[in-house]
Symmetry: C2
Subunit: 176 residues, 2 copies
DNA sequence: CGGTATCCCCTAAGATACTG
DNA sequence: CAGTATCTTAGGGGATACCG
């Protein structure tokens, strides 16, 4: 059985609260349906599959080869999910070497357009993001270094203040 | 140390291949930067944070309360990531009860707009998706049932064909 | 208040092997 | 070829405890 499904018992259906523009409402809804659908769409492989299928339909192995890095299991899983969601269609040709073609449904095609916008955003900002990361890391490194220097200094002071002989009977050894 | 980071050693930088429209190129790039950024954006909490911060800046605990379900650890992690990527800014007020405000950077704001498009898509299609899922599940259930009926029939036939006594010495029991 | 560090569990996803 | 079944592992993410 197992079914490896989920989706059903997660985050019980929360009735749509009408067309409310409030952002708080947005994330409320995000918690119910949007979140889940988005997670599926944006998962590791779905995007790639949708991207590839936008040009023309492909068979299983063609997708497998095109994606490079996806395991058989993950590709099958991804395709079944997308099929279940009505985003890709699966047509089996009962030939001798079995042939299965995957294609985008009309709905899948509209999703592709939307996703494309996100990808474009990412492409446009990837340099800015890389720069921000570099800056952040530089700052973090500087801070860490400063902290270490300070710690060393403190240790030196402690050493100087202590009597030449080591531990005075109990407690206090090197001090952290 | 641990740092719990990653990001660095994953998927070495792949130089941008110019502005090529080919879809194959798209997913190639998706494998390098887009994929990773998208994963961050679409992760369990980032979306919510960005959504909330779009209205006005918030402090840590305000976000914590607003999101409901997020652990301290995850919220902190998410915020660090978003800060590192230059999507949210973190300003510390050195008051007696320390106060830290988080806000969207300009880049974060543009991302919000883009994400919003995706959310709108999801909202517009969630009914269609739900319907597709229901249809798929119905089909699957029907198929499974049919398979079970067939199996039962086959078992009945096997039982009838077999002599009243059980396994004939070696091999062939129920036959697959 | 605003975090970081630690432990620990559980699921997602890769590798492998088998089936129709 | 087009999958499913099984095993195993990395890391996402919660709970808890402690620092500044």
């Amino acid at each position: 059985m197992t079914m490896e499904d989920g989706t059903f018992e997660s985050l019980g259906y929360c009735a749509d609260t009408g067309v409310d523009d409030d952002v708080l409402q947005w994330d409320q809804r995000a918690d119910c349906e949007v979140r889940q659908i988005l997670d599926r769409i944006a998962d590791k492989w779905s995007l790639l599959v949708i991207a590839l299928l936008d040009k023309h339909s492909l068979r299983f192995t063609e997708l497998r080869r095109a994606i490079d890095g996806v395991s058989q299991r993950m590709l099958a899983r991804t395709l079944r999910h997308l099929e279940r969601d009505g985003l890709v269609s699966r047509t089996v040709h009962p030939t001798v070497p079995p042939r299965v073609d995957y294609a985008l449904t009309p709905m899948g095609a509209t999703l592709h357009a939307t996703i494309r916008a996100l990808v474009v955003w990412t492409e446009e900002h990837q340099n800015a993001i890389a720069a921000a990361r570099a800056a952040y890391d530089r700052r973090a490194a500087a801070e860490r270094e400063a902290a270490e220097r300070e710690a060393a200094e403190r240790a030196a002071i402690a050493r100087a203040a202590l009597p030449s002989r080591g531990s005075p009977a109990l407690s206090g050894q090197v001090v952290s």
